[in-house]
Assembly symmetry: C2
Amino acid sequence: MEAMDLRVEKMLDGIGLKILAVLQENARMSLASIGQAVGLSSPAVAERVKKLEEAGIIKGYHARIDPEAMGRSVSAFIQLTTDARHYPAVKSLAADLPEITACHHVSGEASFIMQVRVAQVADLEPLVARFSPLGQTRTAIVLSTPVDKGARVPL
Amino acid sequence: MEAMDLRVEKMLDGIGLKILAVLQENARMSLASIGQAVGLSSPAVAERVKKLEEAGIIKGYHARIDPEAMGRSVSAFIQLTTDARHYPAVKSLAADLPEITACHHVSGEASFIMQVRVAQVADLEPLVARFSPLGQTRTAIVLSTPVDKGARVPL
DNA sequence: TCTGAAAGTTTATGAAT
DNA sequence: ATTCATAAACTTTCAGA
C-alpha cells in the first residue's frame, strides 16, 4: 500500500484537508462555494473531491436526523461479557436487531460494547433478554451527552 | 409542543420518510433525483426538505471520512466511575480533548462512557492519565466493529 | 401542497495555458 | 494541475390548480 500512501499524501495537503473539513460540516455545499472557501476553481474542487472519494477517504455523505423525531428518545450501552464460542451468535444477533446502532468487539473485561436506540426505557428489557443467554450483560442508560462529534474525525 | 408535533406528523408521511431515507444514505443527491425517487417535482422536494431542516428533523449533512486516512486507527472506550463533584471537570476535560469523539453521562456502575480515536494504542495512556485523577477508569480497546450504522437512525 | 415553466446558478466536459 | 468556455443539469421563483 506504499503507492497508495503517496497518492493519499498528495491529496491531503492543506487544501485537501480544508475540503474534507468543509464537507464534513456541510456535505451539501456546492463545489463552487467550496472552491471559494479553499481558493480553487470549481472544476479543480470537483476533481479533488472525486479523487478523495475514489481513494476511499470520503466514505459517504449522510444527513444527520434527529432520533427524537423518529421516536427513538432513549440511548443506551449494553456490554456483554462472554467467551469465544458465543462470538458468532452475538455478532449475527447484533446485526439483525435494528435497535443496535453499533457493536464493537473489545479488549478488556467485557467482550462486546453495543450502542442501542429505543423509544422508551422499557424497550431495553426485551433487547437485553436477547443477549442474556449468551453471556453476562451490563446496561448503561445515557442520561446526557455532553460531547458528541458524531462520526466526525478530527482533521 | 403539540402544535409542532402536528406539523411533524405531516412531514413524516410516507414521502417524508422516504426523503429522509434517501438523504441519510446520500446527502449529496440532487433535489431533482430525490423527486424522481419519491415521485415529486423538485420544487416540492425542495420545500419539504427546507421544512424538515427548519423543524430540526434534519440536523445537518456530513461527509463521512475514513479515520484510518487521518491517522486515527485506534478506537477505544474509556469508562469513568466517579462522583458528582467531579462531573463538571470531566465534562469540560472531555470537551477540550480532540481525541474524545463522544462523552455520555450514564446510569449504572460507570458515570461516564467516552469514545476516543487515537493514532496508536500508546496514545491512550496520556489520555487515560488525564482522567485518572477524577475517578476510576476502565479502558476497552476496539478490536473490530461488526456493526456500525454511524449516526444513522432506523426509519 | 403540488405542478409546470422560466430565469438564474451550478456542474461537467474538454481545450488551452 | 489549473483556468476558461460551453453545454447540460440543477435550483429557485412564481403563477396557477
